[in-house]
Structures are given as structure tokens and as C-alpha cells.
């Protein structure tokens, strides 16, 4: 890995206001996107990001309008292709901070292929996938993350296919950073900061409430009354506790699976509760696969284990390939076996 110190960019002092554009925000009143936008605008000054050096790249969908509302460089591209455009941006100028904004339809349906490849290549960028389990902009059809049985204009009798699980998909694609949060969670800026500080592709699934077409679909864990039992915020080096510390996650060694255990008097060690290690890929797989209901929803930074990023590798290879060679167009076009023709062609060419 390249020395982290050489990657650190100078901090730029900004405020939330510096990240707001003069454009009228056009999401439905009460949409979860507003909260995510605020959280991002709050995060950027925290991490010392430079507006001139920041690029938001999005696809198509409600979430993908996002770049218009952030005072930085922004590129609202075409449906599903933001990761591919972002790859070109970052390879052309590795110094840029690249954020990809996508949704469940954009990133996992039409653009699933690109999401997979940007993750396996480990392009240095932040990927925020707004998951609202519905197609909002096209007026409410079920999406690849909609739960089986979702009734929508295109599935009036209920959807029959199994949903994709974004975080599990990302991890399976080879991501080195996986985090989860929801639109109005107060920890969102913290999660975004961790994503920003991760060198490589940082995948953040953000559960987002579509109040028009899929209202309160995440209420089982986001609503205040359900938060304690429904949310497991994991933190590196801390035991996996929830329900105000009365329950925890432990390993069922027989079944090689996770289980919920009761914690009595705060003695989590006695209950064998797992201490979260962000570099443990196996446990990360189990956390993103935990079925909600029997288990709480795992939130926070689930996995963070950096590796050489794609653009670093490309730049290194380009430099190595060019080393010691001076570009000379005339030489380039004159390559291969050549011969010279003199004015008196009858004598034949000179080799």
C-alpha cells in the first residue's frame, strides 16, 4: 500500500453554507433525501474537503438529483452508469475526491454490473446507495430491493421475486468498506466521515424513507419506539450490544452462525458477545446477512480493511511503463521495419 501520509490532502476550512447551491431542491416535502443531503453537507466541512476538488457523480433517479444541490463539481449522468463515469474521472485526475450517488434501482438493477466492478476494482471513491426499496421517480414500481409481496403499479398482485441485499452484494463483489445508516440517523455524518477517510471504494447503504411510494418501510427499526430493539450500531473494538446493552450478538459455534444473547448486568463477556473488528471479513458477511426480525439491523461501519486502490495501481503501472522512455511522436510513427525510397526508384529500396 502507498504511504497514507502522501495521500492526505490539505484541509480546507468550509462551513455548511459553502456546500449549498442556489438551486431549488426539488424532492417531495418530507423526503429522506433532505436529511441525507444535510448530513453530507455537514460532513464535508468536518473532513476538510475542498469544494473545488470534490466531484459528485450520479446516475438517474430521485437520489441522483443530489449533485445539483452541492456546491462542488457535479455530473448527473445516465441511468446506472455513475460508477463508470466516476472511474474515468478518477483515472484522469486521481487527486479529485469522488462521490457516487445512486439508488437501489440505479445501482443494483440497471447499473448492478458497474456497481460490482467499481467495488472489485476498489476505485477510491465514496458510494452512497440510497435504498428506499422502490422506484420513486417513475412513480412507484417495485425495485430490486423491494420485499417479496410488494404491491406496486407493476406488481398489483404483489412482487414474487427475492430482493437483493445491497451490503451483502457489495461485500460479495469484493468491497473493502461497508457501512450502513438511515437517512435521519444522527450517526450518518460519522459513518460518512469513515467512508471519506477510507482509501478505496467505500460503500454506504443508506435506508431512505420514500414518503410517497413506500412510506415507513423501515419503521420497524428506524422509529423511535423500535430503535433500541431494532438497531445494532457496531463500532470497532466495542462489543456488539443493543437494546440498551441488555442484548448482544454472539457466535453460535455449533451452527457457525450469529445468535442473539441476553446480557445480564452488563456482563457481555459472560454472554460471549463479539467485539467488533472492522477488519474481520467473515463476521462482516454474517452481519450483513442477519435476517431482520430475529436479529436487529446492523448499522455503522461494518467492514473497513483498505487495500491498494484501482487508480493508485493504474498510475503506478503507467509510471513504470513510461519510465526511461521519452515520448517522441516521430519515432513512434517510424517504428517497425522501415525502408527508404530514393528519387531513383529503379534501383530499388534501401533496407
Amino acid at each position: 500500500m502507498t504511504d497514507i501520509a502522501t495521500l492526505t490532502k490539505p484541509r480546507v476550512e468550509t462551513t455548511i453554507k459553502d456546500w449549498e447551491t442556489d438551486q431549488e431542491v426539488r424532492w417531495c416535502p418530507g423526503c429522506g433525501d433532505y436529511a441525507i443531503l444535510k448530513a453530507v453537507q455537514r460532513t464535508l466541512p468536518m473532513v476538510g474537503a475542498d469544494p473545488a476538488n470534490t466531484v459528485f457523480v450520479s446516475g438517474i433517479g430521485c437520489s441522483s438529483r443530489f449533485p445539483y444541490y452541492v456546491e462542488s463539481y457535479g455530473f448527473h449522468t445516465i441511468h446506472g452508469r455513475a460508477p463508470a463515469v466516476a472511474t474515468g474521472v478518477k483515472l484522469a485526475n486521481p487527486d479529485l475526491d469522488v462521490w457516487i450517488i445512486t439508488g437501489d434501482g440505479d445501482g443494483l438493477s440497471i447499473g448492478g454490473n458497474h456497481t460490482m466492478h467499481v467495488l472489485r476494482r476498489n476505485l477510491d471513491c465514496q458510494i452512497l446507495l440510497f435504498n428506499n426499496e422502490i422506484y420513486g421517480l417513475t412513480k412507484g414500481q417495485y425495485s430490486p430491493t423491494s420485499r417479496a409481496g410488494t404491491r406496486s403499479p407493476s406488481t398489483p398482485f404483489g412482487s414474487v421475486d427475492y430482493p437483493a441485499r445491497p451490503a451483502a452484494f457489495a461485500l460479495g463483489s469484493g468491497a473493502h468498506f461497508i457501512a450502513r445508516a438511515y437517512d435521519v440517523s444522527k450517526q450518518l455524518p460519522e459513518v460518512l466521515t469513515a467512508a471519506y477517510n477510507h482509501k478505496g471504494a467505500a460503500f454506504v447503504e443508506i435506508f431512505q424513507n420514500c414518503i410517497v411510494y413506500n412510506k415507513d418501510v423501515f419503521a420497524d427499526f428506524t422509529e423511535k419506539k423500535n430503535a433500541d430493539e431494532g438497531q445494532l450500531w457496531v463500532e470497532h473494538g466495542k462489543p456488539m450490544l443493543f437494546a440498551k446493552g441488555t442484548k448482544g450478538i454472539a457466535l453460535d459455534r455449533e451452527a457457525l452462525a450469529l445468535k442473539v444473547v441476553d446480557v445480564v448486568d452488563g456482563d457481555w463477556q459472560a454472554a460471549d458477545v463479539i467485539v467488533h473488528d472492522v477488519a474481520n471479513r467473515s463476521v462482516a458477511h454474517m452481519l450483513v446477512e442477519m435476517p431482520f426480525g430475529a436479529f436487529p439491523m446492523a448499522l455503522g461501519v461494518i467492514y473497513d480493511d483498505p487495500a491498494t486502490s484501482f487508480e493508485q495501481a493504474v498510475v503506478a503501472q503507467n509510471e513504470q511503463g513510461a519510465r526511461g522512455k521519452a515520448p517522441d511522436l516521430q519515432k513512434l510513427v517510424s517504428q517497425g521495419q522501415t525502408w527508404t525510397v530514393k528519387a531513383d526508384a529503379e534501383k530499388g529500396p534501401e533496407l
Binding site: 457535479g74 472511474t87 510513427v333 521495419q337
Partner: protein, 623 residues
Amino acid sequence: MASAASTSTVPHATPDTTPEAVVVRFAGDSGDGMQLTGGQFTLSTALAGNDLATFPDFPAEIRAPQGTLFGVSAFQINFGSSDITTAGDAPDILIAMNPAALKTNVSDLKAGGLIIADTGEFGERNLIKAKYESNPLEDGSLARWQVLAFDISALTLESVKPFGLGNKEALRCKNMWTLGLALWLFDRERQPIVDWLKAKFAKAPEIAEANIAALNAGHAYGETAELAVPVKQLHLPPAAVAEGLYRTVTGAEAISLGLVAGAQLAELPMFFGGYPITPASAILHHLSRLKEYGVTTFQAEDEIAAIASAIGASYAGSLGVTSSSGPGIALKGEAMGLAIMTELPLVIVNSQRGGPSTGLPTKTEQSDLYQAVYGRNGDAPMPVIAARSPTDAFDCAIEACRIAIQYMTPVMLLTDGYIANAAEPWRVPDMADYAKFPASFLSEVPEGGLKPYARDAKLARPWIKPGTPGLMHRIGGIEKEVNTGHLNYSPANHQAMTELRRDKILGIARGLHQDVALGETHGKLAVVGWGSTFGPIHQAVRRARRKGLDVAHIHIRHIWPLPENLGELLGNYEQILIPEMNTGQLKTVLRDQYLVDAKSLNKISGQPFRIAEIEAAIEGMLA
């Protein structure tokens, strides 16, 4: 270049009738190394100072079942002392490495032409595979031609015996034995091939030595054997060509070099996003080695990602380039619209192949003209340039880069499978002759404020790189407001922006002048072509003019927008004939643009036009 036409005669004629040009076709199994043999024979021909053109024709299958008709791979070369512009109509000599190669190629051979066949491969099994009921070498069915049949397989095995290769490996040297014979036949130097073999098999010297032995044995066989028909060694004098340094170049190489030159002339790094597809992959291969020229290549996960990444790179200040063939170009369509809407420079190379759908991956066709000019949703104008030959592709690639940068637009460069694979001698250009066109980026807020969609005299918008302080702005595929670039759906704005995009592209025509490639600027008939039909059209018009016919050849490089004077020029002729390897696509465009009564001559067989086919059409129209 010399002006004499290429009328070929067979090489076993008496020495006092030395022909100006000869067409040789090597044909064998796809595993027989015919493309390699042809390539090396091309090199030796170029080194002998002959002008030449080649036509590689190979199956889509990498290793088709041995000995089958569909597994035949062929390489044709036309070379001589005169100006050669096509791979030749009918071969004078056919070298057939097995019955299938003979069967699929012999009907093209000129009457009286020479067949060289390997009897060692004409056993019963291979005859059955080639669907021969009896051995054509023995049953008199080849009486129209001269036949020279001997056991090349056995002679090869004998020549490589000292190197202790296995039977299979030893037989692989057959192509070098055959090449040796061909070199003798045309009085060629063996040394360049020997050098090449040594370099190619540097890690396996015994293989190199075996191949060299086979090459020498083939050559010696020609020199010493008493051949059954009187073959006389033939020396074609060098073609009279312009002074200078020469090399051979394929279209794929020339495009790669032209793209690099274009980016260098623009003083930009180049980003190439590609996805493997026949016959366009060679461009990706060439460019991936040229790191010292500021070239970044990216093999994307699909065609869409290839173009999308190139757009992203252009947005970030590189010259974005992508390349594909018809089916891949179709996939890139939506992204082209994005590049048009966001007005970013981009070069899209389409190496056309037979279509629709998967079509004929390894065969040539020029049927993507509609796709290039019209094939996007919305009013989405885009410049289109077509290369006429492998060497022309170099200048066309530079031209595509220039237009893309100066007009802030995607540009499509059309070539085809024939141009991509074919080789021809190239007079190495003096790069000092090419004018630079440095790209400029907006670096600070201009007077009157930042307007990402303001226009210059060419109607181009400013190129603004992310990373530039103070110029933050947002772009995207949604309709832009005039000047500001903000989202704007209003009717008047869309009308204005659509017209702006149209006028910007049409403005490129100013200063584009269409000249006449051969003949007068007025007359009875103009034969109008584009792309790789240049050679056969040119020769056909030349022959017709020799017969006294009033015909001219016009070849269009700028397909969209068309050159400013083209309409007027076409109006100067009584009739217009447009030969195309499609069902009449340029014809439709020209009829639409100029209301001219253009007639089509179509060939959609996956093979280039023959000179005679166009000549007959000219004579028909002027009869």
C-alpha cells in the same frame, strides 16, 4: 505514385511480359498460420519496394474443426510496380494448404492461374471433410488452371528432421516452407523473415531454427526442383513511389497512432476506454503499450462502461476515446447522447463489421452509416468521419481529435474490418507538418460571471476541469439553460438549445472542401464513395476513363456534416453512382440533403468490391 492500371497476368508467362501486379492468395486451415504467412510475405514485398494492398479473411471461430470448409483462413495480397489500391479482384496464384482451402477459394482464381497445393493433405479424410467426392488434383476438374501439387507436408517434415520436433510441431513449419517457396517465386530476400523468426522464438531457439530450415528448404525447392509446370522466377520491379521513409501499417495501428498524435497535438493526456470486440480490439492492444505518451487504457466491464469512463475522463480534462464495432456502438448510444448534451469532447471509433446483431464478426461491411449519423434518441447531431484506407486512418484519427476538442463534441470515426486488418505501405509522415491544436481550459471566472454553456465563435462551450478553484458547476443529461447550464425544461429554451447543438455541428462544414479524387469537376457520371471502397472505385474509374468514359471519382471523408461545396459539386454531374457495402445508406443521406437522383450499387456479401463489378456498373450507366 505511378498511374498505370494493374492488369495482372499469371507469373508463369514468359519473362518479357513481366506483369505490373500480381495477386497471391494463401489459404489454409485456421490453424495453419496463413495470416502469419501473409503478414511476413507482405513485409518482404514492402521491403522489395513493391506497392501493395492486402485482404485478410479469416473465420470467426478461433480454432474451427481442422480441415472443414468453414475453418478456412485466407490472406490475399496484391502487389506490383504500379499504384496498388485494392487487394485485387481475382488471384493469379492460389496456395491451398488443404482440400477445404482449395474448394472455398479456387472459383476466385483467374482462368489460367496457378494452384500450388499440398498433396500431403489431400488424403481421403480431408477430401470428405471438404465434401469432395474425388481428389480434384487427380480427376481433371482443375483443368482451367495450372496445378503444381507436391507433398509440402513430407518435404517440411524432412527439412526439420534434425531438430527432433514432434510430428505435430514439425508440421506447424509448413507455412514457413510455403513462404520460402513464395519468396523464391518472387525473388525476395529471406533475411528479414529469418530475423523475425529469431526474435519471435527467442525463448525457443530450436523452434526458430526449425522454421528457418523449413523456410530455406521451401526456397531451395523452388530453385532446384524440376517443377511439373514451367514456373519461372518473377521479379517485379519496385513501384515508382514518392521519396521518403516507408513502413507497413494496418488500419488498427494507424488509428492508434493517429489518436496518440491527436492527443499530443492537443497537448492532452489520452484516456481510452474499451471492451474487447472483433475487429476493434487491436486498437486497445496497441494503445495499452504507449504509456510514455500519456495514454491511460481501461478495459471496462462492458461497452457502456467503456464510453461512460471515457466521458468521465473528458470531463476531468483528458481526451476521452472509446472504440468498438457495430453491436458495441449500439450499446454506447445513450452515452453518446450524454456527451452531446454535456458538450464534452470524445472520439468514438467504430470498426464496422457485417450486421445486424452479431452478424459477421470477421467480415467487412459499411452498414453503420445510419447508426453513426442518426442512431441516437432525440435530435442528437454528431460529426462523423470515415477513413478510406489503413494509412488514411491516421489523418482521420487526428481530424476526429481536432473536431472533438475545438467543437466540444463527440465525434465518430468509421473504419471497417477490412481497413482495421489490412496492411499497406505507409510513407511515414513528418510530424512537424501537423499543426498543433492545443486544448484550452477555463481557468478563472470570466467577465460577466461563470457561464458553463456560454459559446465561442464556433458555438463551443468552455471546457472546465474539476479541480479548478472558483468554477464549480453541475452538468448532466437534463436539458440545459442557454448560457448558465442550469436545468431548464421550458419550451423556448429547449428549442434554442436544440438549434444551438444543431448549428454547432453544421458549422463544422464551413471550411470543409470536397475535392474530386479522379476526373473532372463536372461531367456525365460521378462515382461517389466513402470508406474502404476507395480502392476498387478508384481503379474502376481509372479503367473506365482509359476507355474514354466521362466519369469522375468523389470520395467523402466527412460524412456529417457534409462538406460545404458537396451539393454544388454533385449538381455538376448528369448521373451519380454510389457503390456501398450496404443497401444504400450514403445514397439516402445524399438524396435527402441535396435532392439528387443518386443510384446505388450494393454489395453485402462481407467481401470488398471487385474493381470489375464497379467498372461494369459504370459502363452500364454510361451505355
